[in-house]
Symmetry: C2
Subunit: 680 residues, 2 copies
């Protein structure tokens, strides 16, 4: 297993030379204002921190974490000791509020000179952000670790910058959530939206209704103590925790223990995806009594002012097929199931308000007669959000920020909460757009690979929500995201390490160079294509251990190769230095299959990827031939082109859920070699 | 930083083709008896475990750990549930003893067929070993994960199979120790020797003498609760914990809080290596009163029957320069400081015995008039051990097992506790050789890199102490060690992951392919050369963050390249397939420096390695030229050879503490090209 035939492996290039120098600072999100100075502050073992303003426990803890991370980044063991005149002085005027509210002042200033640094902030929240900015500035130079001289004045563009993690479809343990909260704090996100219930499992302990997790979680849930622990952990990092209990749809897990809540007969189960589904019955008084007690209990457990009731994707067929519900609709003059859901939501809103919370829900909850205090979270888009704003509702954008759709970071980055249909709003209406939330739905992630589905792409969304609207340079974003990704791994996130671990498992060996080369250039299918390709309902108990589960959602290698081919095209396919780079890369891919095949064929987990590896080899061969034709300045025979395009068309089709995004740039080379104008 | 110039990187081979197939089972240590069957047991999500014999908590916990590790290795989530007829049946006749004693029955039998598996053992200890063996057998095949059919009857050769970790020179936190205990259990080691005090720090909390850690640890110590926690953790894994409190030498940390114990004036400190040293004053009654109370307290804290008092490397000058001590020696008719130490040890032995413990110490404690119950741990070698055995003392071997000396695994593997001077012992005397202990002294390790200094080489020592004496095939050992190393990382050890993390830190980027290529072929200087090369006393507070701290003690690439050149020589330098492999490897090394140089020169941590990288390029060029001459069958000009040997001699010298072990095989090629008989 261990030793790949050497003669067949050959030529691995280490990286691409897309960007030669990065004078910019590796900050993400980019601060509101940055002025670079000259010189730099050395980070040596005498580095120390002085707290000059308020001493609150959150800041003390934040400085301890700062020292830990600085130690990890530099390898210099720091132990924060109170110093009279430390290298870095942190001054916050006010402590962090015991309960974080929407719109807290998160601003800070950071000044670094060659002799010291200061962070000042109106309160601890801002100081914590300043500490993260400082950490991102630490860099190795010929003189050692330094922070470049800089003056930063910073505050967020939007007050609601969230990450939603679905913990129902696959349970995500507390420690994994915690490291993701660390990541959120590192990129200055401030809302953790905890999607705690769905058809596949109810994950928050209720003492009032113990069967919710007792029979609806398969034992995978958070105790109330663990929940309080996570909320406190988040608060220490300036992050609010908004719980979501999805109802009336997506709620089979409620019905396992409490089948009376459902609109049709059970028995219900979370174990078998083939079992009966349902939605909540909104016509029974008992339903509201249940929810009242439940919201009362959860409202105390989760201190945040907002309470998310879901409300999305209600399947009306369960109401249609229940004669009692039909009769109720008629009796109340309701024409549609939307009317019935509105009735339900009005009741819910009153219950939530009674327990001193503000209701938040997905687009479907919106009805003009609901109080304007509610918040709409839009999976439908800026138009939907704008329409709500025009009616006076505030909202947050999630459409465009679904991490589980496997889009490139650039695509998320291009989505502005105030773009699209929201651009036409008045300034007053725009204020109702509170921000946005990245969403990690968990059909296809496990505790092992959830980090790599969230990171580093989530950093691009974090920047969109924090930085000025004018910050839109995609190349800069990718360069900085690459640097931040590296720091996030030092922070404890596993987005890179876990991939290689998974590849090693599939291969049954630690010698995975050839497999890494393949993994580096493939991407999982996007959108809901993996669902569409799967036969029948998803088995949520199946291990997610195939190549599609391990690879990164976005291939850096493929993007960089595409950029290289674009540059080559811009040179009229003449620049010899770029051609050498393209040729070396293609040669690597051309020969990788011969090295990889023995590994793929001996593993039940990898056999399905044999055609992917073969396609890569064939595509690379086509690209190399195209370069040969371009070199000779000859027009290639028509038959050759037809052959290559056949191979290319085949290679465009997903295999084992994997795409080869390098096909498009190779096709560009083939078409250039045939004298056609290259396609974009 | 990120993008290495592609044109300069070139050709990276993925691995070597030294061993094409491994029909052997990847077990380490090799069991006493193995019979392979046909067929294999599939490991699928229906896999379950039945406990058929005693149900003791250690076994229950062991099965939970087994299920966790099986889940990590396969990616299939297992939750151990009691099953009437599980896939694997575990039957232990007796529970694990509450206190593990030397020489417990650790035997077990494991039978695997294509339909199920059984582990039977006289007690839980053996059953735990059987579970580890089962985990090592799990392998990926075209049919999925399986365990091959096999019948194993196994028991250890030696009853004392230990790993000593020094936590004084650099403090190693509890979680790092725990993962190393997991590793020990995985290779069936059964004694954790905890070197808890030395000049640089006292690490175990004493409530009777709180200043021991209060002023002697810089705050880095284990509380008694943590110690109990670790002992329990070890016990659950069948591992005894033997504490060592080194005295009368290596004990400056005692004197910081209790200077009266010392033979000369303080004040003493653990912070400054330039401060005064000392050894314990053995002439004062108060010393023995102190030790009596201390051993009483620690004897209760550490339940093991053995208590290690160190006793090594006593610097007599502190006794010589104290007139009172001199007078005492005269008054008692002692001629040498060895006499005085013997006096001290006799007292210590009585105190240790009074508290129901057996004393163990390093070679120096041995004096014929001590009771035969004491145990000698030999850092001097088998001769020393044999001499003790001949006088009736039992002993354990550590000479040859010092992991901090950076020897290859093969060198440790060749050391047999009953080899060398011990081979001539009678069978009865041989029984006094209880086993051995690997030692990880901690001058040059931190929590970050200690795993890679211990693993995987410690597995070779574990095999030496468990497996039959006849098991000595080095190639087999390396192949199996490679497989076990991979599984150890799944278990949580960081020996591979931490290296790359450290390389990334030095480089300031995650793009470290070229740096990995260099790191793969260098080795730190061996023996105490790093000490000798350092100017003045070691600063134990300096970060260990250079390349020498990150690289593996043993280079697999270099060893495999050496094997390749040997095979090429055996073919009369004619086998074209081997030559291609050698040439590809040399080409990679030849071009790596150009890619790596920009990275090295921009990092204060890496600049010192610039000559190492250049030497590798020059050596590789010499090797390539030698191949060219060999191809042409010509004798090369004398001047060429002289040039190459000059380069080779320069490349043999350590730079930044690093050696290039590929120099020797390249020299062999150069000399072959010059028509000389190649040197071994």
């Amino acid at each position: 297993m261990r030793y790949l035939p050497l003669a067949a492996t050959l030529f691995i290039c280490s990286s691409f030379a897309v960007s030669q120098s990065q004078p910019q600072l590796n900050l993400m999100p980019i601060p509101a204002s940055v002025q670079q100075g000259s010189g730099a502050l050395p980070i040596t073992k005498t580095f120390s921190v002085t707290v000059a303003g308020v001493h609150d426990p959150a800041l003390e803890a934040g400085i301890h974490r700062f020292a830990d991370q600085l130690s990890r980044q530099t390898g210099i063991p720091f132990q924060p000791k109170p110093e009279a005149a430390g290298t870095l002085t942190v001054r916050a005027e006010k402590p962090i509020p015991a309960l974080l509210k929407l719109g807290e002042d998160e601003s800070y200033q950071l000044t670094v000179t060659d002799s010291g640094a200061q962070i000042t902030a109106p309160n601890t929240l801002g100081a914590l952000h300043g500490l993260q900015t400082f950490l991102q500035l630490v860099t190795i130079t010929p003189q050692g670790f330094v922070v470049p001289s800089v003056t930063i004045k910073d505050q967020p563009r939007f007050p609601w910058r969230g990450l939603m993690i679905d913990v129902s479809r696959h349970f995500i343990p507390l420690d994994v959530l915690k490291r993701n909260l660390d990541g959120m704090a590192f990129v200055k996100m401030n809302v953790f939206h905890w999607h705690l219930s769905d058809d596949q499992g109810f994950r928050a302990e209720s003492k009032v209704f113990p069967k919710l997790t007792g029979t609806g979680s398969e034992g995978n849930y958070y105790t109330q103590e663990e929940i309080r622990n996570l909320i406190s952990y988040a608060h220490d990092r300036g992050i609010r925790v908004v719980p979501e209990f999805d109802t009336p749809g997506h709620s089979r897990s409620w019905f396992v223990g409490y089948p009376d809540l459902a609109s049709n007969e059970g028995p219900f189960t979370v174990e078998d995806e083939h079992g009966p589904e349902s939605v909540t019955d909104p016509t029974r008084e008992e339903t509201y009594k249940f929810i009242d007690k439940f919201v009362e209990e959860m409202g105390k457990l989760f201190p945040d002012a907002y309470f998310h009731i879901g409300g999305d994707e209600v399947n009306g067929k369960f109401w249609d097929s229940n004669p009692k519900i039909q009769a109720f609709k008629q009796a109340h003059g309701m024409k549609t199931n939307q009317d019935l859901q509105a009735y339900y939501n009005e009741h819910l809103q009153k219950i939530v308000a009674k327990h001193h919370k503000t209701m938040i829900g997905w687009d479907e909850i919106l009805r003009p007669d609901l109080p304007k205090t509610i918040v709409v979270q839009s999976w439908r888009g800026q138009e939907s959000l704008a329409a709500a704003a025009k009616e006076g509702f505030s909202g947050i954008l999630s459409h465009g920020y679904y991490l589980d759709l496997i889009y490139p970071a650039s695509r998320h980055y291009a989505v502005d909460p105030l773009g699209g249909g929201a651009a036409s709003l008045t300034a007053e209406q725009q204020k109702l757009i509170l921000g946005g939330e990245a969403c990690q739905w968990a059909e296809w992630v496990t505790p092992e690979n959830v980090d790599s589905h969230i990171w580093p792409r989530n950093a691009a969304i974090a920047e969109r929500l924090w930085s000025p609207q004018s910050v839109t340079d995609v190349n800069s974003m990718y360069a900085r995201m690459h640097a931040v990704s590296f720091e996030l791994e030092f922070l404890g996130l596993m987005h890179n390490a876990a991939r290689d671990r998974m590849l090693q498992r599939m291969a049954g060996t630690a010698d995975i160079t050839a497999l890494q080369i393949l993994a580096d250039v493939v991407e999982p299918v996007q959108d809901y294509n993996r669902w569409d390709d799967s036969k029948g309902p998803i088995d949520f108990h199946s291990p997610l251990t195939h190549l599609i589960d391990a690879v990164y959602p976005e291939s850096d290698s493929a993007r960089e190769f595409g950029n290289l081919v674009q540059k080559f095209a811009q040179s009229g396919y003449k620049d010899p230095a770029i051609e050498t780079q393209i040729r070396t890369q293609l040669t690597l891919w051309r020969h990788n299959d011969a090295a990889l095949y023995p590994l793929l064929q001996q593993s039940a987990l990898l056999q399905e990827d044999i055609p992917v590896s073969q396609n890569l080899a064939m595509i690379a061969a086509a690209g190399l031939q195209a370069l040969d034709y371009l070199d000779r300045g000859l027009k290639e025979p028509e038959l050759w082109k037809t052959q290559q395009l056949t191979v290319i068309e085949q290679a465009k089709k997903p295999v084992a859920g994997l795409l080869l995004p390098v096909v498009a740039p190779v096709q560009q080379l083939v078409e250039a070699a045939s004298g056609q104008s290259p396609q974009k």
